[in-house]
């Protein structure tokens, strides 16, 4: 090995061949290039020129240079150059490689494997045997394993087959395995540590050091994995706690909540403050969504320690409280629901309502506080739901004591038993300890819980089996019966503090939790069967089928410790599964820094050794190809000139430059990298085009009636009006527009002119709806019946236009109408007017009848055919004569149009009294 800075040669003696290069240069210069082939007609004249000097043409210098470079590359390639050579291993004798392959190593496992492969390569070059020791047990095995001595090829295979395990390391067992290694003399130990401390780490390091020397390779505490603890339920939210080793620096991560099918349900920030090694993130989700969460993990964290599987224990179960009376807010402490509500809401979602209403939605527990006789249909609904697996929790009370129905687990005596009343010598009794068979077993019974009143069960043979809780005198206080798939539970006292103070105690909350826990899910798994593995996680936190050798969880094995026999994952069956998480019983993480002195340290990061031989050989091959092409070109066998040959040479050199090796190891794609739902741009449709043309500038609009002639009159009329408006006022209008009330969006127009013809088709209900929206949002429609007839108020009268109008506006939200009052804004919005002639004069104009309203009348109805009066031809002359006639009438018609437009555009601020004096003055009064 010959090292030159960052490059070393594995076979340096081949470099001696470089001395031959000058000789090669000479030889190449002497050898003439191959002749070009050329066809030439006048060849006869060339025949006798041979006596001329035969000094051959020289090969071009750049071609010789290229060939010398080619030879140099081949020589260098054969010398096997290495970039960033790793150098020799320290020490002598075999190499002992201890690999931490617990869950924490999964964080940068590809890097660890590369480091391991490098070590094996170096051991191979030094021809030293390798002992490979892993610190975690294989699945189903207890002890840590040591293999060796291995030859390099075997060690490489074993190293490549290594995978991190989804449980922790067992360094004590590793220590024992190391003790048994058959090593005489010295050895060098390499420990690829995962960076986490445990009580046996120091002993292991000391033992390894005794082989001769020890190098510990580990990353700094910042690179250690983050751990996500199983979340807690706090006030209805899921609160996940994450931990890290190094508390310095602020760190922002994300916690993802994924559903059973892997879809992202929620993503919450996780912020480690500077100096803190704990951080929380809180998920506040609707119950249905929250119950879908099957997995929480820290984004971009690739260990199983950052993954928490959720099962039924984390689900919020909705509890319905049947409440027929409604909540009495004035005296909550006396209310039968209040204590239930307070006790249940921290861990369940509480709903109130009638039994039938509550059962329409998914429900876990139905609580009935002191209901006597249920209504028959309610009772049937509750009964069938109960038999399908619901849990019904009833409380006794005066109503039940007065006479109940059969929806109780035991037969009850009528009336109740009072303890400790004024006329009784018995004292209120506390609860007895719970029997082992009871679901409440294990809860501690506070001595100050006293029951002073209760309902009594009729004695029966199975009463003892049905009893879940008793008073100290043996009286059942909680009885239950399994009906169908579900449970019917009766608490023989009230759910408020009236009959006992049970509802005030913490025991009440715990009992309710147990009862809610009974509901579907846990209820199914409460059998005695062991829980078989369903789906396990590997060290990277990926779900997989359980590997062979995984044991079933014993009953109640929720608290089992993750280990080689029970990897984290789901246990149970599809109906009821229990999540076993690695992080639930993980001790607090500590960095591995208590190492004995004299230990060499290394890191996983660092320049990798790169073998340059293949690159050099590839470059040589490419240059060789280029040389062949250039040779052909120089002999005229390629249809290109010398310039192109030079260009090709440049290209060949360029291509031969080795590029940096792209490194991409299997990073699991995170959700943040996934493409978000693409917002598709809707193609510009006809509706868009209409909106574009309608919205960009103010314009008048008229309703297309279907009668082409009438539409043309309307267009001409509005055109004429627009001309007048532009000339006389500051209103800027462009060409009027025809709108189709069935299809077009109306919101762009301040005023729509709607001439009525008797043959006009009735608008569809959608069009009516859209017109209503238009009117409600401040639009104005001017209906023009054009029949010069007064529109009477009573139904059935009027001209044909008025009759059709009535049919047209059926369904339209037309407000109550009135003839334009003399002080209406229409009379003074721009001009002072009192009548509103069009082609015809004298017709009544109707507007909304509203006193003191500050809004524009949505509907204006008249019969004067204003468009006819406004209509001007292309030569600027009016199209129609006005009746009875005269320029003043047409002028007044235009003035009405101006007032109308002002009214529609500016509203009715002119109604303000502020203007009255000025107007009076102008009127000369």
């Amino acid at each position: 090995m010959l090292a030159l800075g960052p490059i070393a040669f594995a076979s340096p003696w081949i470099l001696l061949a470089l001395a031959l290069l000058p000789i090669l240069w000479r030889i190449l210069r002497v050898i003439p290039p191959a002749p070009r082939q050329l066809r030439f007609p006048a060849i006869r004249l060339l025949y006798d020129l041979r006596q001329q000097e035969q000094t051959p043409a020289k090969t071009p210098w750049w071609l010789i240079l290229l060939r010398v470079i080619l030879a140099t590359l081949i020589i260098l390639g054969l010398a096997h150059p290495l970039l960033n050579p790793s150098g020799r291993l320290p020490g002598s004798g075999p190499m002992v490689v201890v690999v931490d392959d617990g869950w924490a190593a999964a964080r940068d496992w590809p890097q660890r494997q590369r480091t391991l492969a490098d070590l094996v390569d170096r051991a191979e070059r030094d021809q030293r045997p390798v002992f490979l020791v892993t610190t975690s047990a294989q699945t189903g095995e207890t002890p840590a394993r040591a293999t060796g001595p291995l030859r390099a090829a075997e060690a490489r295979g074993a190293a490549q087959a290594l995978l991190p395990k989804p449980w922790g390391t067992n360094r004590k067992a590793t220590l024992a395995a190391v003790e048994r290694l058959p090593i005489q003399g010295s050895a060098h130990a390499m420990w690829l540590a995962d960076g986490l401390d445990d009580p046996d780490a120091k002993a292991l390091a000391e033992r390894l050091q005794r082989f001769g020397s020890l190098t510990v390779i580990q990353d700094g505490p910042r690179a250690l994995p983050r751990v996500l603890r199983p979340p807690e339920r706090r006030a209805g939210d899921l609160v996940a706690v994450a931990e890290r080793v190094d508390p310095s620096g602020e760190e922002r991560r994300w916690v993802r909540a994924l559903g059973t099918d892997g879809r992202l349900i929620a993503r919450e920030p996780l912020v480690f403050a500077d100096g803190e090694n704990r951080a929380t993130s809180r998920f506040n989700l609707p119950t249905e969504l929250r119950n879908d969460i099957a997995r929480l993990d820290i984004e971009d964290e690739t260990t199983t320690g950052a993954v928490v599987l959720l099962d039924e224990r984390w689900r919020r179960r909705p509890v319905g409280i049947v409440s027929t009376t409604g909540f009495d807010a004035s005296q909550p402490l006396l209310d039968a629901h209040h204590y239930l509500d307070r006790a249940l809401s921290p861990f369940s979602e509480v709903r109130r309502g009638g039994a039938t209403d509550l059962l329409k939605r998914e429900l876990a527990v139905l609580a009935l506080p002191d209901v006597g006789q249920m209504a028959p249909n309610d009772r049937d609904a509750v009964d069938s739901w109960l038999k399908d697996g619901g849990v019904v929790l009833r409380f006794a009370g005066p109503l039940l004591a007065g006479g109940g129905d059969d929806l109780v687990p035991v037969r009850l005596r009528r009336g109740d038993r009072a303890l400790g009343g004024a006329l009784s010598w018995a004292k209120p009794l506390p609860l007895a300890q719970f029997d082992p068979g009871s679901p409440f077993h294990g809860l501690s019974v506070p001595p100050d819980v006293l029951v002073s009143r209760q309902v009594l069960a009729e004695p029966a043979l199975d009463l003892g089996d049905k009893t879940w809780a008793r008073l100290v005198d043996g009286t059942p206080i909680v009885t239950a019966e399994k009906r169908g798939q579900g449970w019917l539970i009766l608490v023989h006292t009230t759910s408020n503090a009236e009959w006992s103070n049970l509802a005030l105690s913490g025991l009440f909350v715990e009992m309710l939790q147990r009862i809610v826990g009974l509901s579907r899910g846990i209820a199914g798994s409460s059998g005695d069967a062991a829980l078989p593995p369903l789906e396990t996680l590997d060290a990277f936190g990926r779900r997989s089928a359980p590997p062979p050798g995984v044991l079933s969880l014993p009953r109640g094995g929720v608290d089992a410790t993750v280990g080689p026999h029970v990897p984290p994952g789901y246990y149970g069956n599809d109906l009821a599964r229990v999540a076993l998480n690695m992080s639930s019983d993980l001790k607090a993480l500590a960095p591995l820094d208590r190492l004995p002195s004299g230990v060499l340290h290394g890191a996983y990061v660092g320049a990798r050794e790169v073998d340059l031989r293949p690159w050099l050989m590839t470059a040589a091959l490419l240059i060789g190809l280029a040389d062949v092409l250039i040779g052909l070109a120089l002999r005229g066998l390629l249809p290109i000139g010398q310039g192109a040959a030079a260009a090709m040479l440049a290209l060949a050199v360029f291509v031969a430059v080795p590029r940096a090796e792209a490194q991409s190891f299997g990073q699991t794609p995170s959700f943040s990298q996934m493409p978000r739902a693409q917002v598709q741009r809707a193609p510009t449709s006809g509706a868009d085009a209409f909106a574009m043309s309608a919205a960009l500038q103010n314009k008048l609009a008229f309703v297309r009636t279907g009668n082409a002639q009438l539409d043309e009159v309307s267009r001409a009329g509005l055109q004429g009006l627009a001309g007048v408006l532009v000339r006389r006022t500051s209103v800027e209008l462009i060409e009027p527009m025809a709108v189709d009330i069935e299809a077009d969006e109306l919101a762009f127009f301040p005023l729509i002119y709607w001439p009525i013809t008797p043959e006009q088709p009735l608008p569809s209900s959608q069009a009516i709806g859209r017109l209503n929206i238009y009117l409600r949002n401040g639009g104005t429609i001017l209906f023009d019946t054009r029949d010069q007839a007064d529109i009477p108020t009573e139904v059935g009268g009027g001209g044909p236009g008025a009759q059709r109008l009535r049919q047209l506006v059926r369904g339209l939200e037309v407000p109550p109408l009135a003839p334009v009052p003399p002080d209406h804004v229409l009379t003074k919005a721009f001009y002072l007017l009192q009548d509103f002639p069009g082609r015809f004069a004298g017709g009544t104009v109707w507007v909304e009848r509203r006193e003191g309203s500050s809004e524009v009348s949505p509907v204006i109805i008249g019969s004067n055919d204003w468009a006819g009066a406004w209509a001007v031809g292309p030569n600027g002359r009016p199209l129609f004569a006005v009746v009875p006639g005269g320029k003043p009438q047409r002028e007044m018609a235009f003035r009405f149009g101006v007032n109308l437009m002002m009214y529609a555009l500016t509203g009715n601020y002119k109604a303000d009294q502020v203007h009255v004096p000025a107007i009076l003055e102008r009127l000369g009064q």
Binding site: P33, P35, L46, R50
Partner: protein
């Protein structure tokens, strides 16, 4: 029937190939026709030449009565002298003509064909009788003669020899040889002598590629002939360039001498020059001979 169809098919094929070359040659011919007019001599012919005062002795039927009626004097109408010559054209169709040294040049054969066609077009327009040497056709005149000539030129005939075969032509005929004339001088001399012995006048047009005059190549080259000559390897072509040019000059001088001895004309046309120049020179030479 089948024969007719085949002919027709062949005619169509030819027609498809004709236009570009014909158009080119017609264009070349047109530029020449503008510069040269007739014989400019009074003689037998159909084209009006001049009116002249009647002189005693003139045949009475030469009097142009219409012209005489306009004036007092009597005029005789004279026509331009138009004597039909028989001219045999030949162009080299050997493989050595299919050569060009650069992509932007045309083959020598293309230039030769164009020259021959354009010349034929001009001659036929001037009323001469034209035939392609080697086909056995008799010289004819008129549009049909031109068509036949075109077909004969464009027929894909490949000669192996770079010189025309010896044919028995009538005395005082004219021949025009267009080719690269790279054959040994003795061969050319023998062939010319055979024609001259029968009193045939001739014109030599040597069509050369520029590379054949200058030998612009460099380096080590193995030259190969186009007509099966033995290849030759030149070590450094640039060193023999001058000697080659000298040889080519000698060859051309030899040709010139031959032409002078036999009373023929000799011209050189290079394919990087426009064919009009060569055609003009050729036409002038022909006109001089025809006129003398």
């Amino acid at each position: 029937m089948a024969v007719t169809e085949r002919l027709q098919h062949r005619a169509e094929q030819l027609a498809a190939a004709l236009p570009p070359l014909l158009v080119a040659s017609e264009r070349v011919a047109a530029t020449i026709a503008q510069g040269v007019h007739g014989r400019r001599r009074v003689g037998l012919g159909e084209t009006f030449w001049q009116f002249r005062r009647y002189q005693p002795g003139d045949p009475v039927r030469m009097i142009d009565w219409r012209q005489s009626a306009k004036t007092q004097a009597v005029f005789v109408r004279e026509t331009e002298w138009e004597a039909a010559q028989s001219i045999w054209l030949w162009r080299d169709a050997s493989p050595s003509m299919h050569y060009r040294s650069r992509k932007d040049l045309q083959d020598k054969s293309e230039h030769a064909d164009m020259l021959v066609l354009a010349l034929a077009s001009l001659l036929i327009a001037a009323g001469e009788n034209v035939a392609l040497l080697g086909t056995g056709h008799l010289p004819t005149s008129g549009r049909m003669a031109y068509n036949r000539f075109c077909h004969a030129v464009l027929a894909e005939v490949t000669e192996t020899e770079g010189l025309p075969a010896i044919e028995l032509l009538p005395r005082h005929g004219h021949v025009v040889w267009v080719g690269d004339l790279l054959a040994p001088l003795d061969d050319i001399k023998a062939r010319m002598a055979a024609y001259v012995s029968r009193g045939v006048h001739g014109h030599l047009v040597q069509v050369l590629d520029p590379a054949e005059e200058t030998l612009p190549f460099k380096g080590r080259i193995r030259f190969q002939g186009l007509e099966g000559e033995a290849p030759t390897l030149i070590g450094r072509t640039d060193t023999v360039r001058e000697e080659y040019a000298e040889r080519m000059t000698t060859h051309q001088a030899g040709l010139k001498d031959l032409a002078r001895i036999f009373g023929w004309s000799y011209a050189v046309h290079r394919t990087d020059r426009p064919p009009q120049t060569a055609l003009l020179a050729l036409y002038m030479a022909l006109a001089r001979i025809a006129g003398s």
